[in-house]
Symmetry: D2
Subunit: 345 residues, 4 copies
């Protein structure tokens, strides 16, 4: 009798997740415990650690076989959080089976293959969303809403600061695709999201100011990128692989009627006033702390768009355009000249 | 084979929860999903809504029979979040069965019965914790740590501001025991927690400045309480049943080497600069937003103390002392004079 | 010919100043250099240092003879910044000669004599202003304006923090009249100014938490005072003779539509973000830094009221009422009971 | 006898000032009333308004004849605040007479003439200071001190925001030399001052986003400039001719050990918390409010350097280098390419 209380009244979207590493665990936990109207029925991971995590969270079908999800007749949507090199393949396979796809960025390391993948999925006409979680951060999404309400009028300038607490291992740097593709990619997407307008030109300065080993690995660790938008507005992005004071993620947008800023959340709201001055608490450590809720909101937005059959909040095109900006920044850095976006393809 | 991955290596504390209303749901969710090393095996609630909630969270034994928990041989600890009038009875029953008890405040509406209950449980020598969640708020617990480290020297003054966004219904006011027992009780505990020292005298002003209906119901809606501590330090508490700008929970403690303050978290870290000035976001709505994480930390602290066999972080004595301060404030208000704490019993 | 450029078109109020110590120098400098429409024509001081200061600032008649100002036929207004014990005598003398009077607080150390002095000057019907400079601080005057505009509705609570950076010498303490008359006096006036309403009852706690020598001198160094207003609103004042982090002067007033706060200005708007957190600059050192401009605005307000024949912005009655509150606080402290204001006279 | 009190014990530097317009009045008031050890004995201005101002401030020799200052045998130093087109001529004339020179920026509208002027004055070996007042702002000078103390380690990035409240008249725009020479010039100097290092390359974007009439007058009203320093560090400057919320002058510098920021002072330290959020006061209106004290500190620094025979805190070379950066930015804007500084001369 009591069990009857649990009978469902409405349709639950059935999900399979591919890849249960760091990012996959976040999505799996959100899908299994924190989102209404969804049923995570299958999880695939090559290693045991991820499989165990899925079982502990009550996922029924857990295996290492990707096709068990791709071919599962009841699965409506697939979440892809496997290694980047597999994104395009799995996304296309799932789309061909008519499944909605949520895919972590990037679609592919190669701009050409990303183009093809997006084109094919687009032709298949299935819902497809790229995982740019920062758009769903409570701060940035409120900024977007305020801008859409015209609260600061027409936009003129944007400044984004994005600094990691410390550099990744050199081994990671080597395969990362470089700072612009690995780190600035989020800021390129944020710039387009905030300005609501396309970039026409990119100029990039970059340097190795933190660790010469990063330079030896062929990358930079510090960069400043200037973007020119089609409406004449401008943006700057400041990136660093190291900030001793913690993760630093801010932006400030200036318009004809004012400024909107996002400052960093801190570890607490405690302040100590002493003879040296007033000390606020430290920044959060890294993106897992700062953006934890944004991953949940991101996944909720995917599910909501599926339920309501509205356009995906981040499209494949969005994923592609951020990659093009990274490519333009790379060329600008190498050739020390402003690069037109329409010259990239 | 995969299932073997789930085999437990260590002992899991077995918990039963009594009462799955607003507070019980918070504890149930935390115990079932967010705390390691614990196994919530039974839940009791008279109504179906709470029972359904327990089943959905995977609790195996769900019923309306309190004895199914009290008498359960495997249950190590009981969490009591039933209506206040039942706290003392259930706590004593569980303690007599040798179970550890986590009990929501207040122990009882009557100071006399609270005394007796604490005395009996104390004699039974079981772990017993009262639910003053605000001590576990990240901000206030960091303040406590900083004070313990001597960061601002010897303490001189404390100021606590605690304002609810809007008054509860008059029906609630009538049975609440009055503002000091219902609302200030948290601030009395906080004052003792922060100052690390006992109050010796209370002087209270109170008034009905918000809604005359609250006065008609025999209560006040606004109060200022002055506390004198045994070491000569002083504290003030400002309470209001209404703050149009949202929940307001701050404190500031002044010592020989500086000041420590806790300000309110806001809905976001966005600011808008316009011709009227710089506008920060709104306060959080109410305690469910502000103190959400504190309930989790509180329960973790209970479990940790059980596991490590250390003293409970909030004792029955703590619960009693806050009640005594409320009683003293009531007398002070009625008699318009400072009231000695040692005159209350 | 060029000299003709300097011919005055309008009447200049002629001022004499009595007393050129610390406070007198501030007034003298403001009157001689920073205020339009006024002509400081005479200055009196017993010692040479003050006289030299007056001469350097271009005052023509400089002497040690108070009557040279009191009897000067052209002088319209007298500024009294001599030692407190002489205030009443000089104020009455000047008023009897029909001169407007600006007098530093207090009117007199004795409440009885202050009563008589105010009564006599009031009967003489000359403009009379008491120097409560903090009302003219840019922050507090903006608060008053916002409150008058009803920006936070009906007022419920006020909290004032006033802490000096370090205690004065014990010799000063001995003759100061005690903390409430010497230091809290400003806060009593501020409370009345902000609340726009009279106090009906005072309860005061005080203690010697900083330096036992202050206690030996018969005074307290730390106090908390609770005020009840005739409309039911409440206020608390926190005082300390020592704050290692610098001068601390804040207030916060809570009303039916919101809160207005004044925080401390800091030495600069620089912040340093490091691995320990974000450090803002130090507080200002003391009242000479914090209230420098308020003395100028205060004197401008005196001159403006004279020119426009409007009521003085701070009356003798205001000076008296602050003294009565100090007296009530003293009695409350000694007798440990709330004291009715109408019992003081 | 009293007059003897005024006898000077030490040498007073004798100053003449040329040009008593908006800026000249600031310098004149500071020199006549607010700086010790200096005697402003002569002032020259073509119009009566400035002459009257000088007389009112007690300057003895007031005329329209520049030579009365240049040839005055007792004058040690000349302050030049006449129109820009006369700076070079008067500076050279005064230097030839062996006088120390404080000259408002720019040395000249023409980079070539500025070069020649600096070279000639340099050969004459007289103290020569250019008026970049912002270096003496309490905030920026504290930043410089903190950086010199190594508080944030090696510098990596600088971001400067400089926005005027509203555009100047089009007539001013036409003769201003363009945004980079007129407005960004301060930021170019600030960038060099803060980074303590020379710029090697400039890239500039600019646009007309505020008023098309500014574009019609051949100028831009919005700009973003990217600087590359010889040590590999980078800086960005954001400029706008209009900010509806008031004057906006901030910077933020990022180094290996942290960040130092300067935020804007506001009109007061009052905040209003209401149901819309927490509102801080407005920004200051314009540079006269924001930088008032910096002009005093600047002039004090000039006098101190003269007295102590130390190097001038801002040299002619500094004036020239800021002009070169402006020239580079102009070229970059026109040619849409990064411009090497060593290509400008």
């Amino acid at each position: 009798m009591i069990k009857e209380l649990l009978n469902q009244q409405f349709y639950m979207i059935k999900i399979g997740i591919i890849g249960i590493g760091r990012m996959g665990k976040i999505h799996l936990e959100n899908l299994s415990r924190k989102i209404e109207g969804v049923n995570l029925i299958a999880a695939v991971n090559p290693g045991e650690d991820g499989q165990k995590f899925a079982l502990q969270h009550g996922v029924k079908n857990v295996s290492k076989d990707v096709d068990s999800i791709i071919n599962h007749p009841e699965i409506d949507a697939v979440v892809i959080s496997s290694p980047s090199s597999t994104h395009a393949e799995y996304a296309v396979k799932a789309a061909r089976k008519g499944k909605a796809v949520f895919c972590e960025k990037p679609i592919d390391g190669s701009l050409e293959k990303a183009h093809e993948t997006i084109a094919e999925i687009s032709a298949l006409n299935v819902p497809f969303m790229i995982g740019f979680n920062q758009r769903f951060d409570v701060n940035f999404s409120r900024v977007k809403m305020a801008l859409s309400n015209g609260e600061i009028g027409r936009l003129r300038n944007l400044h984004i600061i994005s600094r990691d607490p410390q550099p990744p291992p050199i081994s990671y740097i080597r395969t990362s695709g470089g700072l612009f593709r690995d780190m600035t990619i989020h800021d390129f997407d944020m710039a387009r999201f905030i300005m609501g307008c396309e970039v026409v030109e990119v100029f990039a300065y970059g340097n190795c100011l933190i660790d010469p080993a990063i330079g030896d690995a062929g990358d930079i660790d510090s960069a400043t990128v200037l973007l020119k938008f089609e409406n004449g507005a401008m943006a700057t992005i400041e990136n660093s692989r190291e900030a001793v004071y913690g993760y630093d993620q801010r932006l400030e947008v200036f318009g004809s009627k004012g400024v909107i800023k996002v400052d960093n959340p801190l570890k607490s709201h405690m302040k100590i006033v002493a003879d040296t001055g007033t000390l606020s608490d430290r920044h959060l450590n890294f993106f897992m702390d700062r953006y934890q809720l944004s991953y949940l909101e991101e996944m909720k937005a995917f599910i909501t768009a599926l339920n309501q059959k509205t356009p995906m909040p981040v499209s494949g095109e969005d994923g592609l355009k951020a990659m093009i900006l990274a490519e333009a920044a790379n060329r600008s850095l190498v050739e020390n000249r402003p690069v037109q976006i329409n010259s990239i393809n």
